[in-house]
């Protein structure tokens, strides 16, 4: 039932996305209108959905894995890693025409993905594996801060990349092509399998680490795989749509408030919810100030942040003192 509802929301989002007109050229069905619909809006809406779904999935997995409702998919340093990748790519691009050629094959998207995955690897290295959750979290935060500082340093030394960097940090779905959609869909499919396979582990983890272990759950294995899932999902999403804030945090929360279920369902529903959220936000970003366009990341940060604050406020009201989960 809820699944159907989620799907309906997604389809509504996609449909609205294709009709959020920015100009008056929709009357005749000519080649250009066709191209706008099929080659720009559709991949864009689909890309927004896929990216949101990846972030929602990664968020649900992260919150389950770290047993912390504050966990978000960028927790392991992928966001700052991606920024650094983009910053380095841009500054080299600007510095010499020679380096441009070699980077061209990789491009900004590739640089962001490589940066995100390397940052998570660095976090794993610092935390010496995935055995201790707390250590992993701490390493993730440290890597995030350090890489963020290095990114600032790069943009200070090369001020001409500052603007382009900012464009990336705000997140945008405007440049998503069909091939990007394909990549995102593949990653989503690949990430779904282990996330669902190990959802039972997340269920067991809610009872506490030692209980989970005594239940005979392959904990370290599952942790490793799930961390890789988070890295892959966020890396791919960040590379194609930039740093979109709060979708990964808000989607699992929304699901949790709407329905009580096992982690398998929660992961699926969070992915669907994330997708729907981002598509809706993207549509709003396009039509709010049409023909001007807002970077979708700004909108999700404002809306998602507002929503979370409101929920926290309401929770504190209804159950004063209970800091637990909804």
């Amino acid at each position: 039932m809820l699944l159907a509802l989620g799907m309906a929301a997604v389809w509504l989002g996609t449909a609205a996305g294709s009709q959020g007109l920015q100009f008056g050229g929709s009357t005749g069905v000519d080649a250009v209108t066709q191209q706008i619909l099929w080659d720009i809006r559709l991949p864009r809406s689909l890309g927004a959905w896929l990216g949101g779904a990846l972030l929602g999935l990664a968020g649900a997995v992260a919150q389950g894995l770290f047993r912390n409702p504050l966990a978000d998919p960028y927790l392991l340093g992928s966001a700052s890693g991606a920024s650094l990748g983009v910053g380095l790519c841009l500054s080299w691009w600007g510095a010499s025409t020679w380096a441009m050629g070699s980077w061209l094959g990789l491009g900004l998207t590739g640089a962001a993905f490589v940066g995100a995955v390397l940052a998570v690897l660095l976090t794993l290295l610092l935390a010496r594996g995935v055995e201790q959750t707390l250590r992993l979290l701490l390493a993730g935060v440290v890597v995030g801060v350090v890489l963020g500082a290095v990114t600032s340093l790069v943009s200070l030394l090369q001020p001409q990349v500052l603007q382009a960097m900012q464009g990336f940090m705000l997140g945008s779905t405007a440049f998503v092509s069909w091939s990007a959609c394909l990549t995102l869909a593949l990653v989503l499919a690949v990430c779904n399998v282990p996330a669902l396979a190990f959802a039972r582990v997340l269920d067991a983890l809610t009872l506490g680490e030692s209980t989970a272990q005594s239940l005979g759950v392959p904990l370290s294995w599952a942790r490793m795989v799930l961390v890789v899932v988070i890295a892959l999902a966020t890396g791919a999403a960040v590379a194609h749509i930039g740093l979109v804030a709060f979708v990964g945090l808000a989607a699992p929360h929304l699901v949790r408030t709407l329905v009580r279920c096992t982690h398998a369902w929660r992961v699926i529903l969070s992915a669907l919810m994330g997708g729907a959220l981002l598509v809706l936000a993207d549509v709003m970003a396009r039509v709010l100030f049409a023909p001007q366009e807002l970077p979708v990341g700004v909108l999700t940060a404002v809306l998602g942040g507002g929503y979370l604050l409101w929920r926290m406020y309401r929770d504190a009201d209804s159950r004063s003192g209970d800091g637990g989960r909804a």
């Binding site: 706008i36 720009i40 691009w93 441009m100 090369q158 440049f175 023909p291 366009e293």
Partner: protein, 310 residues
């Protein structure tokens, strides 16, 4: 008789057709973009979208303004372009709006995702990102080639610009030429070194810059270092106006006194920082500032007020 007339008419028509065919100039050109990649332009572009102000100005300097159908939000010169549709900025172009304009040529900066996406959608994208005087010349030549403007015409445009820069340099009084300048581009503060576009303009006027080329084009400088370097004249954009007056130790700097501080209005800054065909106007602004600054020394020192720039 009728037969002969008919065949004569046919011959005439044939000759006419031949003349028409031969008269059509060779249309397809291939130009090199910033990355040395060839860009093939099959016919003279009639619908151009420009995503960089300096390239917009270059198109207009070549008297091809009427071919422009869409601009980025920062292109603001010449005035006649005001009514053209805006298609976002260079970094966040509205892909849909650009495609809807059906351009046969898009002029864009080099390293943007938007340019990649537009190219992937089948548009003809020419990437140029003029950052200095040499780039500006190359961009002018390349755009002229792409727009099928004759080399002689584009050369004449360039010569005019150079004559303007030269005239600005010659207008400097000997005292003005002795001044050492600090040019601030943002209140961070980022300065313009000798290797930046503005630095090159200053150098061509024979004026010294306190920031050497070795620091990179736009180094972030320590305010203390500027105090130590003791610039005679400070030039800055409008965004620096408020923060300049508040910096500790700067109030006694020679370059902050009276007319020695030139804060340029945003529209003036555009001429100064855009590596395009208005570089002569930019040079003229700098020369006026320098001449004013030395004229000031003969009068009693004024209070610390940013001098109006005109």
């Amino acid at each position: 008789m009728a037969d002969r007339r008919c065949s004569m008419g046919r011959t005439l028509a044939l000759v006419g057709l031949l003349v028409l065919v031969c008269h059509r100039p060779v249309l397809a050109v291939t130009v090199q973009d910033e990355r040395q990649q060839p860009v093939h332009i099959p016919h003279a572009p009639q619908r151009i979208v420009s995503l960089l102000p300096s390239l917009t100005e270059t198109v207009c300097a070549l008297k091809q303004c009427d071919k422009l159908v869409g601009l980025d939000r920062y292109s603001n010169w010449p005035e006649s372009l005001k009514s053209l549709p805006r298609v976002g900025g260079g970094l966040d172009p509205h892909i849909e709006s650009i495609v809807a304009l059906r351009p046969d040529l898009v002029l864009a900066a080099g390293s943007t995702r938007g340019a990649d996406r537009l190219q992937a959608l089948g548009l003809n994208v020419l990437r140029l990102e003029p950052r200095n005087h040499a780039d500006a010349q190359r961009a002018l030549r390349t755009v002229a080639q792409a727009l099928h403007v004759s080399e002689a015409d584009s050369e004449r445009v360039w010569q005019n610009i150079q004559a303007g820069v030269q005239a600005a340099a010659q207008s400097l009084s000997p005292a003005a030429r002795q001044q050492r300048v600090y040019f601030e581009v943002s209140p961070a503060p980022h300065g313009a070194s000798a290797s930046s576009f503005m630095g090159e303009t200053l150098a061509r006027m024979g004026v010294a810059n306190i920031l050497p080329a070795s620091m990179g084009p736009f180094p972030q400088v320590n305010p203390e270092w500027v105090v130590q370097a003791r610039p005679d004249v400070i030039m800055a954009g409008d965004s620096s106006r408020a923060s300049l007056l508040k910096r500790p130790g700067w109030d006694r700097l020679k370059g902050m006194q009276g007319q020695r501080l030139c804060v340029f209005r945003p529209d003036e800054s555009d001429m100064l920082v855009r590596a395009g065909p208005r570089m002569a106007e930019g040079a003229r602004l700098m020369a006026d500032c320098l001449n004013r600054s030395v004229a000031e020394t003969h009068r009693p020192q004024g209070s610390v007020q940013p001098g109006a720039s005109r």
